[in-house]
């Protein structure tokens, strides 16, 4: 099972990106010019904003996203058409407020601790097996 899982992971490492329906920041990092006029998926942190939209810091550099309202530090996921001057016209944008994003990880930590407590209340290690009780 571990070998099969390993093979699946390697297959996914090899093929996942090419099967994704849109170019992502990973592709844009190689060449933005190639994707001008195409729909791309971009994910980044808001570094600047004005009336017309926001600037996102991404691994492909700074990208201007028009018509999106967000605060500095928020995370934004945008599907949109890439234009010249590293500017994006969004078709769909999701804004994750910075504080809510960190709160999600804090809640996950609480969930993980709760799981460990609930699990070891019902299961005890005996040798290399877990025994109920």
């Amino acid at each position: 099972m571990i070998a099969l899982l390993f093979l699946l992971c390697v297959y996914s490492g090899e093929a996942a990106h090419s099967h994704f329906p849109y170019p992502t920041v990973r592709d844009l990092a190689e060449s933005k010019a190639l994707y001008v006029g195409s729909e791309v998926l971009v994910y980044g942190t808001v570094t600047e904003r004005d009336e017309g939209g926001v600037w996102l810091s991404t691994s492909a550099g700074t990208i201007r996203v028009r018509e999106v309202r967000a605060s500095i530090g928020d995370l934004v996921e945008v599907l949109g058409t890439l234009e010249e001057n590293d500017s994006l016209v969004p078709r769909k944008a999701i804004v994750y407020p910075r504080t809510d994003f960190y709160a999600m990880f804090a809640r996950s930590l609480v969930g993980a601790v709760l799981l460990v407590l609930l699990f070891f209340r019902s299961w005890k290690p005996r040798g290399w097996r877990m025994v109920e009780g």
Partner: protein, 160 residues
């Protein structure tokens, strides 16, 4: 992903209600389901970023958040239990609850590639909630608290 707290509390609430009504499943079984309910989010390793053997970590760990990959992880996990097949079944119930909850999420594009490696379809998403939304954690947290109080009352009244 909704946060792990939601992934743990939703099946806990459902199974505790079931247990209060029918006297089963046992707390041990509930713990197995909860374990399965967090397994697919081992894929959160992708947040580490970077590359391993030239592959992006996000691509490498993607199978962990699919049915086949999670079933294999559950299979490995189930080996630690005496009745491994029974443990695997309960863990898989948790895995299914995980994907059911994740299907509520919205993404700009993509989402879960649930049927990997058979079909590369990325759109298993109903688009109802953002992963950072507070509504689901607050509702499940409140419901869990009420059920916990109810179970405590049950314990106290049985003792007196």
């Amino acid at each position: 992903m909704p946060d792990l707290l939601v992934h743990v509390l939703v099946p806990w609430c459902a199974l505790k209600l079931f247990q209060l009504r029918f006297g089963r499943p046992s707390n041990g079984v509930i713990a197995l389901v909860l374990l399965g309910a967090v397994f697919p989010d081992l894929a959160a390793l992708q947040y580490l970023g970077g590359r391993v053997w030239g592959y992006h970590v996000a691509d490498l760990v993607l199978p962990l958040h699919t049915l086949v990959g999670a079933a294999l992880v559950a299979g490995v996990g189930a080996l630690w239990f005496t009745d491994s097949f029974r443990a695997w079944c309960w863990i898989m119930l948790g895995v299914c609850s995980h994907f059911a909850l994740d299907s509520l999420l919205v993404h700009a594009a993509g989402g879960m590639v649930l049927l990997f490696p058979v079909v590369w379809v990325w759109d298993f998403q109903l688009g109802l909630l953002k992963s950072t939304d507070w509504a689901l954690p607050v509702v499940t947290g409140g419901a869990s608290f009420l059920i916990w109080i109810w179970t405590r009352r049950g314990c106290v009244s049985r003792k007196t």
